[in-house]
């Protein structure tokens, strides 16, 4: 390897992240543009669906519509049943969301000691 070819190869290698990032950004942009064609179809079908949750865990009822499930549902449906979705931890229940959900103010409990001195 002579000096000039070493310099040329080294320059390309140093700049390779820029080339790759530019190429990937272009490919991602082209794929996003192509996906725009599906927007109307997605809107049309989503209006019939109960939720926009993805159909990734059809076998697991408590993960099929994660945004609509109840807070206590992230368990198997019976004792000792196998977890139907091993990626449960990656798609953990949205605890923060549930805590922010509007709930009715519970009635104040009566202590029975009010007024006693």
């Amino acid at each position: 390897m002579n000096n000039s070819s070493a310099r040329r190869i080294a320059t390309i290698l140093v700049l390779s992240p820029v080339l790759v990032i530019t190429g990937l950004a272009y490919d991602a942009h082209a794929r996003r543009a192509a996906a725009q064609n599906d927007v109307a179809a997605i809107d049309a079908v989503a209006s019939r669906l109960p939720t926009s949750d993805l159909a990734l865990s059809g076998g697991a009822r408590w993960l099929r519509a994660i945004s609509l499930e109840e807070p206590g549902a992230a368990f198997a449906d019976g004792p000792a049943l196998p977890d139907p979705d091993p990626a449960g931890a990656a798609m953990a229940p949205p605890v923060e969301l549930w805590s922010a959900t509007t709930t009715a103010t519970p009635h104040a409990a009566q202590t029975g000691s009010a007024g006693k001195k």
Binding site: L24, V45, L49, A55, G59
Partner: protein, 389 residues
């Protein structure tokens, strides 16, 4: 001058090919794994958010014993007169376990005033929309394929309710909508009610549409006052579900990241722990023939940059190709879950320039900088002493 040093750095690396390839390979693997996980989680979040706008502004469920149960459709009247509520629709939908599938199908009853689905609108791959009262259904492409159904075929689902009719398949969803419809079976409301054994007058939940979405929180509070014990889910909060559900670095994501992070730490330790005897001798020779300390430092920095930059580029390329060109074999089922009816639609990249630059700089920066300290130490010692030892 700097270009000459760059060329020298490449030749120095080629003299230590095995070490350079080991370092570069480890780094490329770590970058590919981390980038693939980020690309995939971002793409999933993006897919979920694409359909978010069509979601009802507020969903009202009834809880009994801490679990959702059916709600009386007449409860809709208690909500309909709240200011800003445009419509309240009792919805009939639910899950149906198919023994032959060993999985659940999502059965959705279509309201009578629903917009028609057509091939022209890009929703259906074949066939047409259902006709109410004709006991017809539309199924996801994956579900129809699994059951071996073609338009015109009839399917009798094993319901407990003897009023449930066999349904005739009249259309299938396009496979590009698989992410939303893989396990979906749409029929008219009466058929869904019969299949799910839902009593007339009951609904799975109530979908509320608002004329002013900014008032969602106020309306939600009013609903909880009028329907004590109801669970009220606002659409704006649902947007956060996808950030929380797909954005977490838990479970497999974390498990996948640990070896990658460990590999990075090993590489960093290798860089920080100093130079080998050959490299020290090389620096001593360079100093002896007249190279300045800064020129030696530039040479070592360029060596690290060459390995780090090419490994980062290779890692990004591999990570992207893995997820978007090859369909994420291995990673996809493990990361997003698995099911008998598994959507195979390609993911759309959400990754942008800033994200790609962020990954690159967070890897290359520390890797290059860590090489400067041991090189500076070697460059400031007496070359004769180094060559003697």
């Amino acid at each position: 001058m700097k270009l000459s040093i760059l060329g020298f750095a490449l030749r120095a690396l080629s003299r230590r090919k095995a070490r350079a390839f080991a370092l570069g390979g480890g780094l490329a693997f770590a970058v590919a794994l981390i980038a693939a996980v980020i690309f995939m989680t971002e793409a999933l979040r993006g897919e979920a958010e694409r359909a978010h706008a069509a979601h009802a502004d507020i969903v009202v469920q009834k809880l009994v014993g801490g679990r959702p149960t059916t709600i009386s459709a007449s409860e809709a009247a208690k909500i309909a007169d709240i200011p800003s509520v445009r419509s309240v629709t009792p919805r009939v939908w639910g899950y149906f376990f198919l023994p032959s599938l060993q999985g659940n199908v999502t059965i959705i009853g279509t309201a009578k005033n629903a917009q028609p689905l057509t091939i022209a609108s890009g929703v259906l791959a074949e066939g047409r929309d259902i006709t109410p009262g004709e006991h017809e259904m539309i199924a996801g492409a994956e579900l129809a394929q699994f059951l071996g159904l073609r338009p015109g075929d009839e399917l009798g689902l094993p319901s407990w309710n003897f009023d449930a009719h066999a349904l005739k398949l009249v259309g299938t969803f396009r496979s590009s909508l698989d992410l939303y419809t893989a396990d979906v079976l749409i029929c008219d409301e009466d058929d869904a009610r019969a299949l799910l054994d839902l009593p007339r007058g009951d609904a799975t939940d109530l979908a509320v549409t608002l004329s002013n979405t900014a008032e969602a929180r106020v309306v939600a509070r009013t609903i909880t006052e009028r329907l004590p014990g109801a669970r009220v889910i606002e659409r704006d909060l649902l947007a956060r579900v996808y950030h929380l559900a797909y954005g977490r670095r838990a479970g497999f994501v974390l498990g996948a990241s640990i070896p990658a992070i460990l590999a990075l730490l090993v590489l960093a330790w290798d860089r920080a722990s100093g130079l080998g005897p050959d490299e020290r001798k090389e620096i001593a020779v360079l100093k002896a023939v007249g190279w300045s300390t800064s020129e030696v430092l530039w040479a070592k920095l360029f060596e690290s940059l060459l390995v780090g930059a090419s490994a980062t580029a290779l890692g990004l390329l591999l990570g992207y190709a893995w997820i978007f060109w090859l369909g994420a074999p291995g990673l996809r089922p493990a990361l997003v879950g698995w099911s008998v009816l598994y959507p195979r639609a390609a993911l759309t990249p959400v990754v942008d320039l800033a994200q790609l630059l962020g990954i690159s700089l967070s890897v290359m920066g520390p890797f290059a900088l860590l090489s400067v300290v041991p090189a500076w130490r070697a460059a400031t010692t007496d070359p004769l002493e180094t060559m003697r030892t």
